[in-house]
Homo-oligomer: 242 residues x 2
């Protein structure tokens, strides 16, 4: 059997033109909110060289196991957090011949949101994953173009704060309006008029009042709300000012 024939046999097993395919991974920029700060999940990646670098959460596609790209993203996320993210949307697909020293490589990058409380217990057990704030990200030497992917995801989430309440998914299922406003103010790096914020959310009918109140510390207790299903995709016709 000639080399060429064996090559062809291998190709046929695949039914794919093997020699023109770049490396692919499915990665997710996971955000949460804790102690008035936006946090990003970084995990340890073992490189070919044996060195360990921090990067965002992700990895390859298991052709037998993952039925689509989102399923692959979720599998990687659950391996670190045990639970599915509250919100997960595709961010951007980056692919070029310079981002990975091994050659042409592609990442299908997702943006994920999860409540800090929903996964911190499991994360505490792992030493290969941690939540870090954005100033710290700037100081880490991250894998490939992961710092840029985080910046892009952060920008997408900031813009969403202007015309939706999707950032609410970084909070637990039940949350208060002042908490949600804090998240938006953190993303926009700007104070928002309390009245404007509450008015537009009430008018759009996005929250379900649980009837319960949160009574901790000083002051009047705040009502606890949870998101109605339409909150996931609702967009206001008029944005908040930047």
């Amino acid at each position: 059997m000639h080399t060429k024939q064996i090559e062809e046999k291998i190709l046929n097993q695949q039914h794919l033109p093997v020699f023109s395919l770049p490396l692919i991974s499915v990665d997710t920029v996971m955000f949460t909110y804790y102690q008035q700060q936006l946090k990003v999940l970084v995990v340890k990646h073992l490189q070919d060289s044996g060195k360990i670098k921090w990067g965002i959460l992700g990895g390859g596609i298991e052709l037998q196991q993952d039925h689509d790209l989102k399923a692959a993203a979720q599998r990687h996320i659950q391996s670190k957090t045990t639970i599915a993210p509250a919100y997960l949307e595709q961010l951007y697909t980056q692919g070029n011949d310079t981002r990975d020293a091994r050659g042409w490589s592609i990442t299908v990058c997702y943006l994920g949101l999860i409540a800090y409380q929903d996964c911190i217990y499991h994360l505490d057990q792992h030493e290969d994953a941690m939540w870090v704030d954005l100033p710290t990200i700037e100081q880490l030497d991250l894998l490939h173009d992961h710092r840029q992917l985080i910046a892009d995801a952060r920008e997408r989430l900031r813009r969403k704060a202007l015309y939706s309440i999707v950032p609410a998914y970084v909070l637990p299922e039940y949350f208060t309006l002042p908490e949600l406003q804090q998240v938006h103010e953190c993303l926009l790096a700007k104070t928002i008029q309390k009245k404007s914020f509450r008015r537009r959310i009430e008018l759009a009918d996005l929250l379900e009042d649980s009837g319960k109140k949160r009574s901790e510390g000083y002051g009047r207790p705040a009502s606890l709300y949870c998101l109605k299903p339409q909150a996931r995709t609702y967009t206001f016709v008029r944005n908040l000012e930047e």
Copy 2:
């Protein structure tokens, strides 16, 4: 030399885990506007079976030639239209184990806009590419999930008509405001108040007045404008009504 060794040799040439990679293509939903209608570019694709099916414009990545995904998209577009699209942005990456009968496959899908006049001469020479309107798309038997990709792209462009003037890139470099309004009305399937439309564009300072007028047919000639650079990314704080 054993089969296994040869396999390894092939793998080493690639420096990639070949056997866990899905098929990849980079495709573009190209839109233009002609005779009061939105048109999509479809091209003939030769399938493994020898059958020919229509599909959107695209194909594989040439690892040696294409430096990134956008360059790959542009190479495929230029092969059919000779010129680069006026506007090109990434739409969505679809990947699963059912869209292509050959197995796991991924398309990195772009949304492209071009003026009809800018490429029709070259297209007329080709029999393997044509502009079709959207009702016709419904009747064609398109490759894989290409009909869905077209629907997604069309929806993205419709939403852009609500908060930007990006749809202007389906028009020639110099165009009139009534023409641009027609494009938006076509996308939104709804008439827009002439005054509202003009006022918001003027206020946002998105167009450059060429000083020239278009005088064809009856009526007062309309001023010819071209897009200022900021028109590519500008978003209005307040949307048009849906």
